[in-house]
Structures are given as structure tokens and as C-alpha cells.
Amino acid sequence: MLRPYHLIPAVPALALALMPFLPFVNTDGLWFGLPRMLVWGAAWCVMCTPALLLTERLMSRESGELAETAAITEGD
């Protein structure tokens, strides 16, 4: 079943997919001595990992709670 936290990885995914359409990213000029597109892309690639880690944590917490509820109910 789809939960709100399943959409957490959509944040970095959208930031990556939309980068050529963001006027402050797709422009000349540099950030930290590197092209803005490159910095933006690299930063959001890095953010994919914590987004997935957080999602996994919330998924395992919920499955743990479900197992606990099932055990209590069984203890019928």
C-alpha cells in the first residue's frame, strides 16, 4: 500500500529531472568553481542515498509495528 513516505525519494528524483528547467541552475556562471548544472546534479545524486535510507527505515518500522499488532491480536 502506498504511504506518504514512499514519496520521499521523489524529491531528489524531481530535483534531478527538472534541472535543465530551473533558470538559476541552467545558466552560465559557476558555483564553487564548477558548472552550476554539475554541482546541482551531484548534490541531488548524493541526496538520493539519505532519502532511500529514511524510506527504508520508515518501511521497516511500519512492518515491525504490523508484526507486533498481529502478534497481539493473535494472543484471540
Binding site: H6, A17, G41, C48
Partner: protein, 484 residues
């Protein structure tokens, strides 16, 4: 030059030897050979999955793309993390289905989920036709690398022959275990070489990475933006989207053995979580390619840019290491592609019942596919070039079938899926070869996918309508709940 040649052929032989060393015991059957008995741990899985990403295209093509198109090359940066985020959610179910139902290939999955041998065979044929040019690309790339650094076409041809023979030999001998063993070597040497080039090339030509980009910003600011032209925002986004769908829904058949070989689904999920960080390595050849904007004449053949710069900056022994790394990015993915192609033929096209016969058909296909690719790479390198355009846009037409197959109760039958697939492929082929300008800068794979989905939806609606009006005894291909 002699130093580079010696290192080149030593590197090719070393990769072959490592491939042979991958075998622990003789493979008893196709499952042991193609998916390593489904017993691969986190480290092997990591390098196998990374091995699919870092090919000659990444190593040489990305630098060339940065030289010719500037930041447009960055379309390759987002699609893999986005695809892996999709797989993060799907891999557990896919692995469980594969283990329970004995899938080795993409064709096995489609055949089982839609209860249709025809769909399994069609998917396998499409997979072989669209991925064979990708195999030839790796072999051609190998020859091109050696030819570029030696300036001698004969040594390029010889390297293709020796490289292909060794790949076939270690793939037959060790199967996926051999690919895993060579993947370790490939990634380590590739990362070391790219790190050296990342420091040495910009420092040599511009005084450092930051200084290099400041000069590009001053002299060629258009290289730092996605702007109107053949690689505009529409091209960037649609190319990225098609590639992301291809990765996320496992549309390329050679991606399947690696996923099916995992010991458990936690390994897959952990890798998909951390792999986006590893993908940042793609930026290294891009940055090196930007240096060429300042020092190489516009219009120079883009694919050789990285090696051209290496020769100008590094001593010959170090250039030899660059060549070995580049060769590894050709030979190792070629081995993985061979396993993907041969298992498709043995399982979903030849359709023999006896396991032993299936195993020999598989091995015969390895020799035939690599032999054909080698012959074409030497004598007709342009023959499959057009088909290469279809590798991603053609295989991505399988996305609806694969995606809907994940559902426990699949909403459509095999007929709508086949109809959508047929129309999608027709649209892609038509737009690629006959009406080239019609789609503008939109990736033709996405246009085909749109037509594919429309036809699938219409056929599914018609199917339900027919099923509702049919008499109870009549058989129809109505949607059903499938196992698991």
C-alpha cells in the same frame, strides 16, 4: 609506443586470466552458470551492477559528449539514480518471484506472468536484436582504443580478436562468476585512472579544475548551459526519462542475471541505496572532457578525446594504464551482455526441454554472438550502427509489460500487452529510420511508449468488453490473478 602496446596486450590477457580465475567449480546447469546459483553477496553484486553502468560509453563517450555538447553530457548523471530508486521498491518482489518461479531471464518473467510463451519469445528476440549492437559497440570500442593510442589499425584489429576470444573463453568457463571477478579489477583500475586524469589533465592545460571552468565560462559560456539546438532541454529530459525507465523497469535483458544472482533481496536494496553515490564517478570523464574544449579543435572526433588528452599529458607507461582501464570497460560489459543474450536464446527462443541440451545451446550462442559481433566490428562496423539507436528506445517498449507484471492481480492480458509492444516498436522504428525529424528533439522511445500505452489501454478495454459479453463457457484472455 612499444611500452603502450606491451601494456595493452598484457592488460587484455590479465582480464582474461582473472575471468578464468572466477570459477570455483564446474557449473552443473544453466542456473549455476548464468546467475551463480543465486548466491552472490553484497560486494559481488555491487561490482556486477556497477559493471553494467561503467562501459566504454561512460569511459570514452562521456568525455566526448562533454567536449561536443558541454553540460548536455550530464543527462547521463540523473537517470541511473532515478532508475535505482524505482528498483529500490521493486527489486524485493522481483527477486522473490525469480527465486520462487526459477527465472533466469527477462523472457522467463514475462512468459510466467502473462502465461504466454509467445510473449516470452517475442521479448527474447527483441532483446537479442537490440542488444547485439551494444555487444558489437564494446568490441569496436576495444579496437578503437588500441588504434587511437598506437596509430596502427592492425593492432586495433588484433586486440579485438584476442579480446573477444578471451571473453568467450572465460564466459564459457566461469559464467557470471567470471564476470564478477573481472568487474572488481575493472572498477578499481578505472577509478584510479580517472582520478589521475581528473587531476593531471585540467592541471596541465589550465592550472586546475576551477581555473579550467573559469576559462570556459569566459571563452565558451554556451558550453555551461542546456540551450536551443539538437541537445536542448527537451532532448535532455526525454533522453534521461527513457533511460531511467529502461533502468528502473529492467528493460535491458542483460540486467536480469545480476539481479537474479543475489543471495537475498536485502543485498539488492542496500546496493540501490548506496549506488547513487558511486554514480558520481561518471562526472570524472565529463570534467576531463571539458578540458578538451579549451585545447582541441572543434569538430575533432569526440570518442577519442580522453585518450588524446592522456597521450599529451601522461608518460607512456601511464597512458598504457589508461588504455588497460579503457579495454576493461569494453571487455567486462561485453561478457555480461553475452550471458544476457545466450541465456535468452537457450531459455526463451530455442525451447528445448533437456537441461543438458539447453546448456549446450547457451554455450553455442555465446560463441556465435561474440563471433558475429567481432566479424561485423572488423568488416562492417557500420552495419549494426543503426540498430544501436534502438538499444534503449526499442527495449524500453517492454516497460509496460514488465511494470504491469509486478502487480499481484495483473490488470491486462497478454493480447493487449503484445499489441502495445508491436505498435510501440513500429513507431520507434518508423521515427528512427524513415521520419527522422518528425519527433523533433523528443526521444523516439518516449513517443513509442506513448503509442504503446494508448494501444494497450484500448486493447485492454476491448478485451474486458468482449469478456463481459461472452458466454460463461467461452475462453478469453481476461485479466486474472497470477501466482504470488
Amino acid at each position: 609506443m612499444t611500452t603502450i602496446l606491451i601494456m595493452t596486450f598484457t592488460g587484455i590477457v590479465l582480464i582474461g586470466v582473472l575471468g578464468f580465475a572466477g570459477r570455483r567449480k564446474p557449473a552443473a546447469d544453466l542456473s549455476e552458470w548464468a546467475v551463480g546459483g543465486r548466491n552472490f553477496g553484497a560486494v559481488s553484486m555491487w561490482f556486477l551492477q556497477a559493471g553494467e553502468v561503467f562501459t566504454t560509453f561512460t569511459f570514452l563517450g562521456m568525455a566526448g559528449l562533454a567536449f561536443s555538447g558541454g553540460v548536455a553530457a550530464l543527462y547521463a548523471l540523473p537517470y541511473i539514480p532515478i532508475g535505482y530508486m524505482v528498483l529500490f521498491f521493486l527489486a524485493k518482489r522481483l527477486w522473490a518471484l525469480g527465486k520462487e518461479r526459477g527465472y533466469l531471464t527477462q523472457g522467463d518473467y514475462l512468459e510466467d506472468r502473462y502465461d504466454s510463451k509467445l510473449l516470452g519469445t517475442v521479448a527474447a528476440v527483441l532483446g537479442v536484436v537490440f542488444v547485439l549492437p551494444y555487444l558489437q559497440l564494446q568490441i569496436t570500442g576495444l579496437g578503437l582504443i588500441v588504434q587511437l593510442v598506437t596509430g596502427n589499425s592492425a593492432s586495433g584489429t588484433l586486440s579485438m580478436i584476442i579480446g573477444s576470444a578471451l571473453v568467450v573463453a572465460f564466459v564459457l568457463w566461469a559464467g557470471l562468476h567470471g564476470v564478477a571477478m573481472t568487474s572488481y579489477f575493472k572498477d578499481v583500475i578505472m577509478l584510479v585512472v580517472l582520478a589521475v586524469l581528473l587531476v593531471a589533465v585540467p592541471a596541465h592545460f589550465a592550472g586546475g579544475v576551477s581555473a579550467m571552468f573559469h576559462r570556459i565560462d569566459r571563452l565558451h559560456p554556451e558550453m555551461l548551459t542546456i540551450h536551443a539546438g539538437p541537445t536542448d532541454q527537451v532532448w535532455f529530459t526525454t533522453s534521461m526519462l527513457v533511460s531511467a525507465i529502461g533502468v528502473g523497469l529492467m528493460c535491458l535483458p542483460h540486467a536480469w542475471p545480476a539481479v537474479m544472482s543475489a543471495r537475498d533481496p536485502k543485498v539488492l536494496r542496500r546496493n540501490y541505496t548506496w549506488m547513487p553515490l558511486y554514480e558520481l564517478c561518471i562526472l570524472m570523464p565529463v570534467i576531463v572532457g571539458f578540458a578538451a574544449v579549451l585545447v582541441v579543435k572543434p569538430g575533432t572526433a569526440a570518442n577519442g578525446i580522453l585518450l588524446t588528452l592522456s597521450k599529451q599529458v601522461l608518460p607512456s607507461w601511464a597512458t598504457g594504464l589508461v588504455v588497460v582501464a579503457a579495454i576493461a570497460t569494453a571487455m567486462v560489459p561485453a561478457a555480461g551482455i553475452l550471458i544476457g543474450i545466450s541465456s535468452l536464446v537457450a531459455r526463451n527462443i530455442a525451447r528445448v526441454r533437456a537441461e543438458r541440451t539447453q546448456f549446450w545451446i547457451n554455450h553455442g550462442t555465446v560463441v556465435a554472438a561474440c563471433g558475429l559481433s567481432l566479424l561485423l566490428a572488423i568488416f562492417r562496423p557500420d552495419l549494426l550502427a543503426n540498430l544501436l539507436l534502438l538499444t534503449y528506445s526499442g527495449t524500453v517498449q517492454l516497460a509496460p509489460a514488465i511494470g504491469l507484471g509486478f502487480l499481484a492481480r495483473r490488470p491486462v492480458g497478454k493480447v493487449p500487452v503484445l499489441a502495445g509492444l508491436f505498435v510501440g516498436e513500429l513507431v520507434v522504428i518508423w521515427l528512427t529510420f524513415w521520419e527522422k525529424g518528425l519527433a523533433g528533439n523528443v526521444n523516439v522511445g518516449l513517443v513509442g511508449l506513448g503509442a504503446n500505452l494508448v494501444v494497450l489501454a484500448l486493447a485492454a478495454t476491448a478485451e474486458r468488453f468482449v469478456a463481459r459479453n461472452a458466454s460463461p463457457e467461452s475462453e478469453s484472455d481476461e485479466p486474472v490473478a497470477v501466482t504470488a
